[in-house]
Subunit: 206 residues, 2 copies
């Protein structure tokens, strides 16, 4: 079967370990493609254009919107973030499962546009662990940590819209769970309608 790739959105609390999980998943399996978002925000130290984000100007972003070159976009504070359509479509046609690591606002837009999208939400095993991870990074001020925890409480509001809640207690186990969840999508009845019709035709011809 030459099946089209699955579209997967991965969201989660900051501090849930999404970045580490994505890197581990990509390293272990070559059937995934990680979509890189376009953004108008400035690159931070260490960020590389085309790796973390495509860093574009406000004008460029505006033209992408006008040319329908984004499958969704959203604004956070003063910056825009969007998912380039071209990359997603090419990879899916090539049979790759495409992963978008985006926030709930974008996730809901994608789900509305593509109802077969798999929405996954990553969470640490509990809120204390979430706080511990944010604190132990050592890179954030108490104010930023406070703001992130407040934001986490807000993010938890939309969590019911996701298909699965994945508890990241152990990276290796979690990568395997993600992999199996995504691969299971290929067996969903809605993704096997062609196969079903084939079997039906064959049965009628026997």
């Amino acid at each position: 079967m030459n099946q089209q790739g699955i579209l997967v959105v991965i969201s989660g609390f900051s501090g849930a370990g999404k970045g580490t999980l994505m890197r581990a998943l990509m390293e272990k399996y070559d059937k995934y493609a990680l979509s890189v978002s376009a953004t108008t925000r400035q690159p931070r130290a260490g960020e590389v254009d085309g790796r973390e984000y495509f860093f574009v100007s406000q004008e460029h972003f505006k033209s992408m919107v006008e040319n329908e070159a984004l499958i969704e976009y959203a604004q956070y504070v003063d910056n825009y973030y969007g998912t380039p359509k071209d990359y997603v479509e090419k990879q899916r046609s090539a049979g790759k499962d495409v992963i978008l690591e985006i926030e709930i606002q974008g996730a809901l837009k994608i789900k509305k546009k593509f109802p077969d999208t798999l929405l996954l939400f990553i969470t640490p095993p509990n809120a204390k662990e979430l706080k511990r991870r944010l604190v132990s990074r050592g890179t954030e001020s108490p104010d930023v940590i406070e703001a992130r925890l407040k934001r986490a409480a807000e993010e938890a509001v939309g969590i019911e819209a996701y298909d699965y809640i994945i508890i990241n207690d152990n990276i290796d186990d979690c990568v395997e769970e993600l992999h199996h969840l995504i691969q299971a999508q290929h067996s969903k009845t809605s993704n096997r309608l062609d196969f079903i019709n084939e079997v039906r035709n064959e049965l009628n011809q026997l």
Copy 2:
């Protein structure tokens, strides 16, 4: 988390290899419980009461229906088949994922009563393989094979109601796929609402 077991219905074409798959799944993992149906039909050679079926009289079956001791029942030709409630509830409470190997008629009743039920449909890779397996058993007359293929064509009509279509090309791979599909259910958002509320409460108390 002390989560209740998942309810899983497994159906499929005769000749799809359900019986072999179920035995292999039970042997490999101890987290599953296979529900044994009650039936009014006569035992066939080699069948053991309480293993393949609970063989009961028409009167006994009728009293089970009246006492609401079955979670679903259906009639095929002159015989009744039903799923005893007691066993299913006890096993699920103990955290076991309970598998019902029943036909589409019963599957749809279960799904209506328990919307979280996972409906899985097993199929051989194609119709020719289905015919080959039925013929190579060597136990059935051409008429019976003909009747089964006709029935398969009919069964394929309801197939869209199932959540996943599992292609049984290789027993070991198929057992693993079943296992991962069933385990994934535990991470479904609807099965993690308690967890979500816990994290929310914790976040609000930090």
